[in-house]
Chain length 259, copies 2
């Protein structure tokens, strides 16, 4: 039984990619066979593992409209340096899908259909998404079993969650009734500022128990590690970032596998 | 002669909205009649001035396809608390334009056409855009005379600029040959970390003189001010953020009006 976790929030720069990379690494570190899917045209998750390789086939080739030399999901999955962690790379071309798939009745299901042959090979599939509620993020939420929402402890961050929750209920209404929110994660928390503390209280008041106990604090090692093509677990294993993402993985496993 | 400055970068959370709000305020503070356009469906720039008001007409009503009760640009422009600064609000519905305008041959020109009757009323028009290179950002770049690119001094930020520059040259090739880059702005600069310093050097090596001399440093007052519906100039006039955005306005005026 494969658990598919979409990491989504249309607000930009809230730590979606940082969470996708390091949660996937921490789940693999606990012995779960994990696949990281980079559904963001910026391909930041891909960049954290591989050098930009224009020739390689990517998720665009898997999801593209009929007939344009489509690839299977299996053929684009690549191993990482860490055992039990694989990555399906993204590419800028993904942004073309918004218009290419517009109006096609099966557009929201392309990822779900492409994933079904490989589900048996993974315990967890973590999906990084772009900062928008377009066709790519919809595909992630239709294919997913769970939604994880990173929220920066900052003013603009709270205002945008209504739009995301509206999209979530529309997805649950028809294409994916089983989708659950596995949790809301406070990211980029800065212990020194009032605004982090104030917004954290406001987020807790809105989300209650959905909020993870783990908070991800601002920590420069998390910013540095992708530049060295490493996850936080191998780059700075004793840093607060590594400790926090390991704790998050335990909370995710507890919430997902307990049910 | 109205100078139209599009603030764009598809990377999320790099300070597009913070720059749009505070540059517009600083330009108005120098006596330039300034209009801030919020073309981002998240409507963060709008939120920094007004409470969410579902009933008001917005830029969506100005740009929507024919016949759906379209509004004129003039009718959606609202005064702010600051003299010489007006705001045209955005709304979530803007995200629907991506699919609604797909395939229409005049889709990239809707903003340019809608702005022409009001150009005579403003010296500067500053356009905030979403974290994507879709139809809304294309509209901003086609209507604009100048492009200002905020770049966070961080690892993922540098990788994404190729895509933005490719879009810029495609826009210059056909719909807007006069578009110029007014400058590249380092944002969220943290004097304490090596990664800020290292990436700053890399950005300077890539962009040379296009880089503004002014850098925007990380400063919690900039994060706080929108929560109080104030720009940095009225919220914390002597903070580094206020000083830096005033300096940026002088550099922008110098580069734009000198030519
Ligand atoms: N806990 C943290 N501490 C310090 N820096 C962080 C942390 N989390 C993320 N960052 C940095 O903040 C920036 C934004 O994070 P990231 O790119 O993961 O966000 P995102 O939501 O994926 O952005 P986008 O909306 O563009 O996809 C990056 O430069 C990243 O390195
Ligand atoms: N110089 C700064 N110092 C401190 N905080 C900042 C600074 N600039 C921006 N911020 C904060 O960083 C976050 C991201 O900034 P902002 O929302 O302006 O970026 P954006 O590029 O508009 O994001 P999006 O891609 O979602 O539109 C916000 O919480 C903002 O308050
Ligand atoms: Mg990302
Ligand atoms: Mg913004």
């Amino acid at each position: 039984m494969s658990h598919i976790i979409a990491i989504a929030n249309q607000k930009g720069g809230v730590g979606k990619t940082t969470t996708a990379i390091n949660l996937a690494a921490a789940l693999a570190d606990r012995g779960r066979r994990t696949l990281l899917l980079d559904l963001d045209p910026q391909a930041n998750s891909t960049l954290a593992f591989f050098s930009p390789d224009e020739s390689a086939t990517t998720l665009y080739d898997v999801l593209a409209p009929e007939g344009s030399g489509r690839a299977t999901m299996e053929s684009v999955i690549r191993p990482s340096k860490q055992t039990a962690l694989s990555v399906a790379p993204g590419k800028l071309m993904l942004s073309r899908l918004e218009v290419q798939l517009a109006g096609q009745f099966d557009a929201p299901f392309r990822l779900k259909d492409a994933l079904s042959p490989v589900l048996k090979n993974f315990d967890y599939i973590v999906v990084d998404t772009p900062p928008a509620l377009g066709i790519l993020t919809v595909n992630a939420m239709v294919a997913a079993t769970h939604l994880l929402v990173p929220i920066q402890a900052a003013y603009f961050a709270i205002e945008g969650t209504d739009d995301l929750l509206e999209t979530y209920s529309r997805i649950r209404a028809r294409p994916n009734p089983d989708l659950k929110i596995v949790g809301v994660l406070i990211t980029l928390y800065d212990k020194r500022t009032n605004i982090s503390r104030d917004t954290h209280e406001q987020i807790r008041a809105v989300f209650g128990n959905t909020l993870f106990r783990t908070k991800i604090t601002k920590n420069v090692r998390l910013e540095e590690s992708p530049a060295y093509k490493e996850t936080i677990l191998s780059y700075a294993p004793r840093s607060p970032g590594a400790v926090e993402y390991r704790k998050l993985a335990l909370e995710v496993i507890d919430r997902v596998e307990a049910n």
